[in-house]
Amino acid sequence: MFQQALALTTRDVALARRQGGGLGAAFGFILSVMVLIPLAIGPDQILLSKLAPGLMWLALLLSVLLTADRMFQQDFEDGSLDVMAMAKLPLEIVTLAKVLAHWFTVSLPLAIITPPLGLLMSIDVGQLPILLVSMVIGSLALSLLAAVGGAVTAGLRRGGLLVSLLVLPLYIPVLIFGVAASSANLSPSSSTPALTVLCAITLMSLVISPWACAAALKAYLR
């Protein structure tokens, strides 16, 4: 069972590398947001650095959302999903394997790239480690929750907007505790409670999301 899931993850990573698209567009989005925000807010460095964690999280969250509608669409359209649904491997594991591939190829790279970009908003360098840690943890939850939207809209041609409407409410806890963890003042201990809750949210998504995705995909099989 593990080998089959691994084969699927490997294939999806290879596909993402070959096709490009997802990560490039999402990174372009983050970069343009980060460049434009200081221009929009003005040269007040104190204000900027205060707003930075929240805006960075928002940019990360929205950029992951951009890639959500493609997560299951191709497999649905080309019939791969049919073959996977017939196999002994439960559809829950299939979705989990695909989500992990999405995390490796989209969310995780974005979570690693985003904190250094915060320097454009004159964020304190000492804040970068906690931002990185919280974003890496939160990014898995972002992938997992995006998959739910992707699964629900797998059979829709233009599901992009619907995905946003479906997934954004689910992103709210990640956003709140992600920002709380990374904008707590510089002592590491003060961010521990929020970081713990963020871990809990990620773990909870890990349990619920594959099940929800599989249920949504099964509804398409007819």
Binding site: A7, A14, E77, G79, V83, M86, A87, K88, L221, R222
Partner: protein, 203 residues
Amino acid sequence: MVIPLRLKAENLSCERGGRLVFKDLSFDLVAGEFAELRGPNGVGKSSLLRLLAGLNTSSSGRLSLEGGAPDTNLAEQSHYIGHAEANKPALTVRENLVFWQKFLGGSENANSFSAFKLEALADDQVLLLSAGQKRRLALTRLVVAHRPLWLLDEPTVGLDTASLIILQNHIHDHLKNGGIVIAATHAELGVKSAINIQLGKAA
């Protein structure tokens, strides 16, 4: 003692989009038998194959497969080759096959390329292949992992005469080894069918 394979369908009915496609369909197939599914367009041939593959949930009736591997359901013992071919255009022929071989739990098998004469194309991206070559790649899935029941939805579409003969040989081999094949087709497959499942009224 090995129980021979036997696929039994009783009173199947199938619904699609709230419309009853067919009802009260029964048939009985044993190991080594080939069933040809015939009928005009839209009469439910594909729906029946999807139903057998466990991909149609809004259906009723009884389906059973005796004598297969234990603890596996009908879908897990079937190969389904539909109109959507489940090939990834961005990957090469080899990558596609290796993935399905691993995913479907097939054994490491070097002849899978030769099953439908794809050796020369092994390192080409699938998006460069012609329709017939893509179909051959999809059909190769039949041999990368063993499944006793083959469900083929118009397998001949796009195939040239040489490939058609290869397909016939694979079907013959599979039947000889105690498998069951059900194919929906409009063209002559050239395989002697044990039963013809006629769907719908002949117009």
